[in-house]
Amino acid sequence: MDLKVEQKPEVNSKTKQMTMIQAINDGLKTMLELDEKTILLGEDIGKNGGVFRATEGLQEVFGEDRVVDTPLSESGIVGTSVGLAVNGFKPVAEMQFMGFIYPAYDQIMTHVSRLRMKTLGHYSAPMVIRAPYGAGIRAPEIHSDSAEALFTHMPGVKVVCPATPYDAKGLLIESIEDPDPVIFMEPMRSYRAKREDVPEGKYNVEIGKGNKVQEGTDITLIAWGAMVPVAEQAAKQAEEQGVSCEVIDLRTLYPLDRELIAESVQKTGRAVIVHEAHGTGGLGNDILSVINDTSFLYLRSPIERVTGFDVPVPFFSLEDHYLPTAKRVLESIYKSVNF
């Protein structure tokens, strides 16, 4: 396999500088235009355009029937989306924050994820559940959870988490077109962190494929979402000390891009896994399993994990202590290369 840093596909359209939130808005607009079965549901997403403005201006263009201000009712949103999905619509439901997805957990776990399997393919509930996640924006409590592991442990749903505006739009379009349910996690800390060129119109980024954002030879850093810039920052600092880091942005958390992880770790022989969610029961352990299954004999040191601590996500006065930082990642890099 060619291990060059992924080249973005040529898109025959103009590009525009966008933040991630603008790219998400543009992705939703693109799919509302292209497929009349697409329907957006959520709290405050219509007139108000969403608390983060992800759906700004969409109700004006597409009407109240397609950009629906729902009651404040997460289980109701996902439950009615099941009914809409089995009857031909493509719901894109917004959970205002991932920390508020829990009332809908029952619907996702007991119906959304297993409807296809339990009916031997007769019914399915393809939908996208968008959820802004993560700490670092000084939000009130419960607003800052990273709950991906609850969903990667749930057979029948895919879990996607972009780190850049370009990937956010392309993965969102791919998720809406996917025949199966997708939990689409949006790092709210990255919503407005940077702008980049995003093509106008429709393009897809494949689900299940990670992206090598930086080539390196000594150690592999594996991250996603808001932890990608943290890993990049640590890589830059390590570089100054002569350690060459390869940085992988997983982009999809289920199914994992095992091939990309294996190829990179087999080359570097070392890895640091970085994630914002709690370590115990976290996705890092599954990535560790992938490395164990595919690359054990290539390892030159034990795999390091830098994760959120095994504590509830704290109030924001403590969130900077909770979150993995470049400094913590750097310590793990040194621990690994000096093993």
């Binding site: 329907i39 029937d65 729902t70 009651p71 009712s73 289980s75 109701g76 996902v78 439950g79 009615t80 989306s81 099941v82 009914g83 809409l84 999905a85 089995v86 009857n87 031909g88 619509f89 009332p103 029952d106 619907q107 007991t110 119906h111 409807l115 296809r116 399997m117 339990k118 009916t119 031997l120 393919g121 007769h122 019914y123 399915s124 057979p155 029948g156 895919k158 025949p179 199966d180 299940g208 289920y254 199914p255 994992l256 095992r258």
Partner: protein, 351 residues
């Protein structure tokens, strides 16, 4: 609240019409359809209990006592409509057109059991409580968006009205005026918890007031009351006048499931005074000249043969296919899942 929501009846416990205006509406065809379906599902239900006792199917939740509620409501639907049953509503699904062999298969732990016949919109029975209620709202919403006159019917019990999904589903239906009928079978108990411990509300029908939704309380053991009130609700939904909540007051004659012992929580003799819905219909038929011994015995024989044949077909079904464990998780499975499948199936072959 009991005064505001009186229990509506068409006939009394002895099968006499309370409202004579119904005499014209209840023709021979309706009477026979009602009797045939109620007897058919009771025969199915009793057979299922026997099969479970003999270890030929798994745990089974009987619906005996609720035949009028299930048949009367299901008969008001037409093809194109949607049914969202619970695990105790196989009487309704069979009446609406579910396959009996597959229904037995479901209770024998087989996924094939939830696949409805082509053209029949029957959702798999909800096992978690009340979760099907928002589904029925969402599907009805889709029908409204498509501009059809199809409706969705959700079944649920008294205990389900304590769950959040009941309220979320009704509220969505009310806000978006979806063509949904919420059909509650108040059978007195949620496993062991009686209605008076389940809620301080005197009726379930009154819960619709909070959503400005029409509701009605009916005698769920009176098949005609169920059928005609259901018809009104269905017509209202088809006409675009929104959802209705129906509380059918009925009685679960038996246990919650074959794994349950109701003598632990039910006082001796409780419910014995309740006239079984099928007996009531029989009395009506005798009172109004619909009882025809020849037709009755032909019907009984036909049903018994059907049920026996279905059991035989269930037991002669090929074994569950281990590949089904893997093949429908995603439309296209991820690589690692295909690997799990290949390895496991290869291992099975080697055994």
């Amino acid at each position: 609240m009991e005064e505001q929501f009186p229990i509506k009846k068409v006939m009394d416990d002895q099968g006499n019409l309370i409202d004579s205006s119904y005499e014209e509406k209840i023709d021979e065809e309706l009477v026979r359809t009602m009797y045939y379906n109620m007897l058919r599902i009771r025969t199915f239900d009793r057979k299922a209990i026997n099969l479970q006792r003999q270890g030929r199917i798994g745990t089974y939740p009987p619906f005996e006592g609720q035949e009028a509620s299930q048949v009367g409501s299901a008969l008001a639907l037409k093809d194109g409509d949607w049914m969202f049953p619970t695990y105790r509503d196989h009487g309704a699904t069979l009446t609406f057109g579910a396959d009996m062999v597959r229904t037995f298969l479901y209770w024998n732990g087989r996924h094939e059991g939830v696949v409805p016949p082509k053209g029949k919109n029957i959702f798999p029975a909800a096992v978690p409580i009340a979760t099907q209620i928002p589904h029925a709202t969402g599907t009805a919403w889709a029908e409204k968006r498509k501009g059809t006159t199809n409706i969705a019917l959700a079944y649920f019990g008294d205990g389900a009205t304590s769950e959040g999904d009941f309220h979320e589903g009704l509220n969505f239906a009310s806000v978006f005026q979806t063509p949904t009928v919420f059909f509650n079978q108040n059978n007195g108990y949620a496993i062991s918890v009686p209605i008076e411990k389940q809620m301080n509300s005197k009726t379930i029908a009154q819960k619709a007031l909070a959503y400005d939704m029409p509701s009605v309380r009916i005698d769920g053991n009176d098949c005609f009351s169920v059928y005609f009130e259901m018809e009104k609700a269905v017509n209202r939904a088809r006409e675009g006048s929104g959802p209705t909540l129906i509380e059918a007051v009925t009685w679960r004659t038996g246990a919650h499931t074959t794994a349950d012992d109701p003598t632990k929580y039910r006082p001796d003799g409780q419910g014995e005074e309740i006239v079984h819905p099928l007996d009531r219909l029989e009395m009506f038929m005798k009172n109004y000249g619909h009882w025809n011994e020849e037709w009755i015995s032909e019907t009984k024989e036909k049903i018994e043969n059907e049920v026996e044949a279905a059991v035989e077909a269930m037991e002669n079904s090929p074994k569950a296919n281990p590949a089904d464990l893997f093949d429908y998780v995603f439309e296209q499975n991820p690589e690692h899942l295909e690997e799990q499948k290949d390895q496991y199936l290869a291992q099975l072959k080697g055994d």
